[in-house]
């Protein structure tokens, strides 16, 4: 018989990542059957109700109040668990000012302490993000807006204001940038060089910059503009500003663009702007026909590795061998017989999920996804695969109330275990994204699931084939070589470029039809 204990702390605030970690720790306490430690948002209140933990104490809770709710085997255990959670929260508060120093609670206060500040990285809840960004711009600072749930109107107002002052607004929903060689938020450590890239995609930027590094070239600047910048509503305002800045930057000798195809009017504006850059431009508009780009005088790329290779060739002034090595891939795929009919792709990066669907649709004919490409099928239930399925676990529908799969592997591990155990599954694809912001040992986490969940099918020689693309460099905080070894040790075939993984999967699935 479960007992529910709840505590409400009015006006207490902790960021969502901290609260998710504390909730996860709370669930591990002996005797605890469920735990919700979160701000009083509609989502968290719904969670309480769903778990049967809602009590009258939560009746007038607001999003500015912190809720501590524990469901445990008995009264004593619930009370002890609450004390433990209180301890975790106090420890987090102490860690925030690790040397006991005072922390400013506003941007203005921070600028007094750090007057040379030139970038503000904002990851507060969407409802407040635009206001913080506006204050930063008014203070003359550039903005990286990691937050999502910023309205289109707010985004337009911010970008119009920023462009007028030659300030960057990278975002909303911008997870990756590298400025003056400094990785910001989720970004890889890559060589400094002469390629300037503007991207409306986080993992796309991570894969592009990591591969540029692998090819021996380097990045002058990697500027994220947010997923909506190239819509007609925003008109590519930040993309145009970034392109102009890179055109004028003496360090930058080659430009690259990575995004979904821009809306028609914005595309026209962009092509006109690119013509006056005066430096070679490599353009990867995901899924767009190459002719228009070529006709305008730019170099179209067919996937991220192609974009990185073309840009690197231009930067280094020599030809480079593609990482999609046909002979090596033919050899790797030779003689592989699958023990199930279906392919399942479990991705943490949206652009990579997209790239996999594009590459494999001609081979598989029908692919289901939570984020289907045109010609793909939308999953009826995103938590349940149907036939060939490739999902983006980083999409909002999966991440509501949970940490992103690049930070917290749990959701992907649960899905992976189910796919491995499913006898109709023959092949599984994974992306492993390294760099700052990402989990310290994603390979280890995935390997342990593969080992445990695969034991049964492995014993009867029916294990699914698992292949992964690893995105990162040897300079990243994780140990790149060790991550590869960890995956290979459990039988995973590892590829350094996502395009190579896709080409391998196409061969194997094609041969096993």
């Amino acid at each position: 018989m479960s007992v529910v204990k709840m505590e409400i702390r009015r006006g207490a605030y902790f960021d969502s990542v901290t609260l998710m970690r504390i909730s996860a720790d709370a669930k591990k306490i002996a005797g605890v059957t469920a735990a919700v430690v979160g701000m009083g948002t509609d989502y968290n209140i719904d969670s309480l109700k769903r778990l049967g933990m809602w009590t009258d104490a939560a009746a007038d809770v607001t999003p500015s109040d912190l809720m501590l709710a524990i469901s445990a085997d008995d009264d004593k255990l619930a009370a002890e668990a609450l004390v433990a959670v209180d301890g975790l929260l106090k420890a987090r508060q102490a860690a925030k000012s690790e040397t006991g120093d005072w922390l400013p609670s506003t941007l203005a206060g921070a600028i007094k302490v750090l007057p040379e500040a030139n970038v503000v990285l904002i990851s507060v809840p969407g409802a407040h993000a635009a206001r913080e960004a506006r204050q930063a711009l008014e203070a003359g600072l550039h903005v990286m807006l990691f937050s999502d749930n910023v309205s289109l109107e707010e985004e337009l107002a911010l970008k119009e204001f920023a462009v007028g002052r030659e300030l960057l607004v990278m975002g909303p929903d911008c997870g990756t940038a590298i400025l003056n060689g400094v990785p910001l938020a989720f970004a890889n450590v890559v060589r400094r060089g002469t390629i300037g890239v503007v991207a409306a995609s986080g993992t796309g930027l991570q894969e592009f910059t990591s591969l540029v590094h692998r090819f021996g070239a380097g990045i002058s600047q990697a500027i994220g503009v947010g997923g909506r910048d190239l819509s007609d509503a925003i008109g590519g305002r930040m993309t145009l500003l970034a392109v102009r800045a890179l055109a004028a930057d003496p360090q930058t000798r080659v430009l690259a663009l990575v995004s979904k195809p821009p809306a028609p009017q914005t595309l026209e504006k962009l092509l006109v702007e690119l013509k006056s850059v005066g430096k070679p431009v490599v353009v990867y508009f995901i899924g767009a026909p190459a002719d228009a780009i070529r006709a305008a005088g730019f170099m179209p790329a067919s996937h991220l590795e192609d974009a990185a290779r073309q840009a690197s060739q231009l930067a280094l002034g020599r030809d480079l061998t593609s990482l999609v090595d046909d002979a090596a891939l033919d050899h790797a795929a030779e003689g592989i017989t699958l023990h199930g009919s279906y392919l399942r792709g479990l991705y943490s990066g949206g652009t990579l999920c997209d790239e996999a669907q594009r590459r494999l649709l001609p081979v598989l004919n029908v692919i289901s996804s939570n984020t289907p490409i045109s010609g793909g099928k939308k999953l009826t239930d995103i938590h349940q695969s149907e036939g060939h399925t490739i999902v983006d676990l980083g999409d909002d529908d999966f991440t509501r109330g949970r940490a992103h799969p690049m930070i917290d592997p749990t959701a992907r591990q649960e899905r992976l275990a189910r796919e491995i155990a499913d006898p109709s599954v023959g092949m599984i694809l994974l992306d492993v994204v390294l760099g700052y912001g990402s989990h310290p040992d994603m390979a280890g986490e995935l390997a342990s699931t593969i080992r445990d969940a695969g034991a049964a099918r492995m014993a009867t020689g029916q294990a699914p084939l698992i292949a992964a693309a690893i995105c990162g460099t040897e300079d990243d905080p994780q140990d790149f070589a060790a991550q590869v070894k960890t995956l290979e040790a459990v039988g995973v075939k590892v590829f350094p470029a996502h395009a190579a993984l896709c080409a391998f999967a196409a061969r194997v699935m094609g041969a096993n039809r």
Binding site: D15, K96, L107, A110, A117, A136
Partner: protein, 61 residues
Amino acid sequence: MIKLNGLFDKKIAVVNIGIPSFAEDLKKQSVPVQHVDWRPPAGGNARMRSLIDKIKKGAKS
């Protein structure tokens, strides 16, 4: 010529508002960073917040 206020020639120094680990990662790389101990302004009361903003704007002019 767009120079973004000379950004590309400066040493990047960051104010981090939100997720603490972003600031921790920058510290590990010896990038000057100041974390802000952020909380919703005016205790999350939107009407109060906009009133405060109006007062601040009036004080500036």
